[in-house]
Amino acid sequence: MNSLTNTSDESVATSPIPTMPAVEFIEQPIADVSTVALEDIDVSNPFMFRQNKWQSYFKRLRDECPVHYQKNSPFGPFWSITRFEDIMFVDKNHTLFSSEPVIVIGDRPADYMLDMFIAMDPPKHDVQRQAVQGAVAPKNLAEMEVLIRERTVDVLNDLPVGESFDWVEKVSVELTTRMLATLFDFPYEKRHKLPYWSDLASGSPEMTGGMIQADERVAGITDLMTEFSQLWHTKAAQKAAGEQGGFDLISLMQSNENTKNMVDTPLEFLGNLVLLIVGGNDTTRNSMTGGVDALNEFPQEFVKLKNDPSLIPNMVSEIIRWQTPLAHMRRIATQDVELNGKTIKKGDKVVMWYVSGNRDERVIDNPDQFVIDRDKARNHLSFGFGIHRCMGNRLAEMQLRILWEEILQRFENIEVIDKPKYVQSNFVKGYTELRVKLTAKNH
């Protein structure tokens, strides 16, 4: 079953990988929600975001059936939790709702049984998370701020003014990739592998309705394992030779008693790498794009921002709420649980739709509006709550804050000039392309 269990010093074993039957989602137009019977509503459809049907579907669930059971989706039966307060309840109660074995709606294919701490319960979760969270702790971030600003300036200064280009490729992917390379101390010249691996890891049809087929994923993940095993052993050798360990994620794992041998449990090593790569990539990338999209949809907010740049930190929270770059997290009930009039049975799959809770009219005023000076903008669900709350939240906020500070120094306008293109997924709520045109600022 596990094709990646044996490693030599430098690379993974090349034992035969079981061939999976191809799984593919074919896009069909999604019906207007008013024509669908409540029990037939299936919000796991990976084209929901692309076809812009998600708001009406989730609103109907919030209003009519906030704890909703879909009994035969492509991902098996699952409960949808769609109101803010109910999501908070599930997220907080980690003993009632287990994060194991995986935190996306679909189960892992047999050749992809990775273990990562986001999908572990205490106590194992706690020790593995604590080993690495120092890398993105605010104290460390203060030291990184100068570097992040330099890179942001470099990227922005290279952008073409007055002509069409793809913001996703030239800004969002580029900046998040450079950040990830730094966090891992990954060879800078190979850094473009990182977002590719991230897309592979989060894009399997069986797990999130994505378009990455098994053979491509296996090849990519094998390459990831090879590269990171090399990096691990290089760093271990430097440490053995008496060199001071860095503050990167690999060095932190090596210097922690609980994770110092993680390279010897490849599925766990790989799982945690995938977690940190996806966690640092899709999220910030799509918030960097989402902010531009939002300010184009709500141009009066762009005016407000230019008149008062001190709103940037509040706007950053609002962008992260409005975008909700990861649409859901899933749990398994560990016992029967009553919630909002329904009985969730022990063993049932429970999906918390952050993307819906962040638009819950019961908690957030005019939730579909993007309001950069929104009151209590920090009270959003995008980072999750409870013990699995996003570890990189402060880094994400800092990257976005710096990006917008530097944008306002240079550009009068960022005009979206074509319809955005979206990721096929029920998990990553993001963009594959956003074509824009910049107007320079008159100094």
């Binding site: 998370r129 702790a137 709350r389 402060r394």
Partner: protein
């Protein structure tokens, strides 16, 4: 009516009146004390209203329960008398209490 003093990491002090029954987190927010984020709104689910209670006052406040400890474990600045201020209900007996804010909330 008594008072509670918040001391920022920089040393700056702020004194707030006690409104009995209100949480310490809400007391801080309502009085504009910087350095309390309260991202979850006060339900012990985010860890961003962390305070370090002056040792002489920990008996008056009490210690954190298990859920609170799990959230406090997420911050590297956790100290022996760390609490989440949303989980502390203020009383008249806290008159004169001193709590310190961490350098960062996370």
């Amino acid at each position: 009516m008594g008072h509670i003093t918040f001391i920022e990491h920089s040393g700056e002090q702020h004194t707030t009146p006690i409104e009995e029954g209100k949480s310490l987190m809400q007391t801080a927010i309502d009085n504009g004390i910087p350095g309390i984020d309260a991202d979850c709104g006060g339900v012990c689910a985010c860890g961003t209203c962390h305070v370090i209670v002056d040792e002489t006052w920990i008996d008056a406040v009490g210690v954190a329960n298990d859920d609170e400890i799990m959230m406090l474990d997420l911050t590297p600045e956790k100290a022996k008398t760390s609490r989440l201020s949303c989980q502390i209900k203020t009383t008249a007996a806290m008159n004169g209490m001193i709590v310190r804010l961490p350098e960062f909330q996370m």
